[in-house]
């Protein structure tokens, strides 16, 4: 019954990959010695890593509070989930309007007499640290990782945390030694998906990124559409570089599933 679906996915995906490999032939030497490519890979890895870690650090405590319950939990959970359906591009715009040098925070800083003009506000978008991009991803992925964690917490079939508490573990140590290891497989899978996405997505760094160095996906697409058609094999090679990192992540994901 899985046949047709598997054939469709494998065909589209496989053809794209194989065609990419064939057409990238000959460009690898240039790509792997290009400072632009290495800088792009570095910035993409930085974006993926920082976004994943920050989103996790916010999402897991949030999920713990949601599990414990409080007044207004239902409304809070709904608002918490809203971003799941909001496209990345819209979030990137929101971040732009908030954090740009003429954005809402800059305007508030002006009225608080912290700055006298837009240029004095620190560059948080189009910046070398990719702060704007990372903020967009954190904004988008906190709800996802929060729900993954919450589902894992609610899926724990019994009260191991309570057992740890009566044996003398503090709340923090019960979480660290007992709850976290139990939800780790689910959380790690969620983190892998988030990392893969934030590492390889195009539109957010395209909108909020600086001109050099560009994130790897942006670099690949710009090379592909270069007036010089000779840049196309290089673009393919960069795309495959992204695929390579992703496949390593899939292997990691499947290994987590087996345990």
């Amino acid at each position: 019954m899985a046949g047709p679906a598997v054939i469709v996915i494998a065909a589209l995906f496989g053809v794209g990959l194989v065609a990419g490999i064939l057409r990238s032939w000959g460009a690898w030497g240039d790509v792997l010695t290009s400072a632009r490519v290495w800088a792009g890979l570095a910035i993409s890895l930085w974006i993926g890593l920082a976004s994943t870690v920050m989103a996790t650090v916010i999402a897991v405590p949030a999920a713990l509070v949601f599990r414990a319950g409080f007044r207004g939990r239902g409304i809070a959970l709904f608002l918490f989930q809203i971003n799941l359906t909001v496209p990345h591009l819209v979030g990137a715009l929101g971040v732009l309007y908030l954090f740009a040098q003429s954005g809402s925070f800059a305007r508030l800083a002006y009225h608080a007499h912290l700055i006298t003009g837009p240029a004095e506000f620190p560059a948080l978008v189009f910046d070398p640290g990719a702060v704007g991009i990372i903020l967009t991803y954190v904004w988008k992925e906190v709800p996802f990782l929060g729900l993954v964690t919450l589902a894992a917490l609610q899926g724990l079939d019994s009260d191991h945390e309570g057992a740890a508490r009566t044996l003398g573990a503090t709340r923090a140590r019960a979480f660290w030694h007992v709850t976290l290891p139990l939800i780790w497989p689910a959380l790690a899978r969620g983190m892998i998906i988030v990392f893969a996405f934030t590492f390889g997505a195009y539109e957010v760094p395209a909108l909020l990124g600086q001109t050099y160095p560009q994130a790897l996906p942006v670099l690949a697409w710009r090379s592909y559409t270069d007036v010089d058609l000779a840049a196309r094999p290089a673009a393919m090679a960069m795309a495959l570089l992204i695929a390579g990192v992703s496949f390593a992540l899939i292997a990691l994901y499947m290994r987590l599933g087996r345990r």
Partner: protein, 262 residues
């Protein structure tokens, strides 16, 4: 409770970026250093729904692509979800990896290679080509959601119906269908959202000829038209929020989070 207070702060932070977007969509002459727009107007929306902006045709294209993609995905994805959710079979690990791959591997990694092939097949710059390429992220999504739905469906009910004399089709219609219909609807709605959220796949295969809402939004945003981009953004966000409002109660339990990753 202090911890609940911190959580509300997080929630506020998550909502915050949507506020200037909504303000821009009704703002007029909003310049530095005004914290709030000095004047409100519906001009951005008039422009957006007017003939010049191209938003209405783009909206139509977006809905068409997403609708067809969703139907195709359900058609071949639901049986696959059933197989993964209910049965152990030889080669299951390989199937899982194939289904998982498009979720983890970014679109740009395969779409550049596909572009060349699609040119040869005459599929570039066409709706059909865009639908086909949208299947890459949407289909695995439907399969995974439906695998979760079927995993929660007790196959003993089907056996019971068979032993009471129902034929295969009768079982499917009277027992299986009511059991998973809610899940199929949710999967379809979110599959629709996944498709409407695609940017780079549409850009590469559609070649700018198939213009969907995100492409239009991107161009207005990079052109610095904050008011128009704000108005398009509001239109773009609304269906998802409505769907979430409608499905929020249905999405609970184990695996729920995977349902909502458009």
């Amino acid at each position: 409770m202090r911890r609940a207070g911190l959580l509300w702060a997080v929630v506020a932070g998550l909502i915050l970026p949507l506020i200037p977007l909504a303000l821009w969509s009704v703002a007029r002459g909003w310049r530095f250093p005004d914290v709030l727009p000095p004047d409100f107007s519906m001009v951005p929306f008039h422009y957006v729904f007017g003939p010049v902006s191209g938003v209405l045709p783009a909206l139509w294209t977006t809905v068409l692509v997403a609708g067809v993609t969703t139907l195709l995905s359900l058609l071949i994805g639901v049986p696959a979800g059933r197989a993964l959710g209910m049965h152990q079979f030889w080669g299951r690990g390989v199937v899982e990896a194939i289904v998982l791959a498009p979720i983890v591997v970014p679109g740009i990694a395969v779409v550049l290679g596909l572009h060349g092939v699609f040119i040869g097949l005459g599929l570039t710059n066409t709706i059909a080509g865009v639908v086909l390429v949208h299947l890459i992220p949407v289909l695995p999504y439907v399969i995974l959601v439906m695998a979760g739905v079927f995993a929660n469906f007790d196959s003993g009910l089907e056996d019971q119906a068979r032993s009471l004399g129902a034929t295969g089709w009768q079982v499917m219609w009277h027992v299986t269908r009511p059991g998973v219909a809610g899940g199929v609807i949710v999967a379809g709605l979110f599959a629709f959202l996944v498709s409407t959220g695609q940017y780079i796949l549409t850009l590469v295969i559609g070649g700018g000829r198939v213009e969907t809402l995100p492409l239009l939004l991107f161009s207005f945003a990079s052109a610095g038209r904050n008011d128009i981009a704000g108005a398009i953004g509001v239109i773009y966000v609304l269906p998802g929020v409505l769907i979430l409002l409608w499905t929020a109660r249905r999405i609970t339990g184990r695996g729920a989070a995977w349902m909502v990753r458009p």
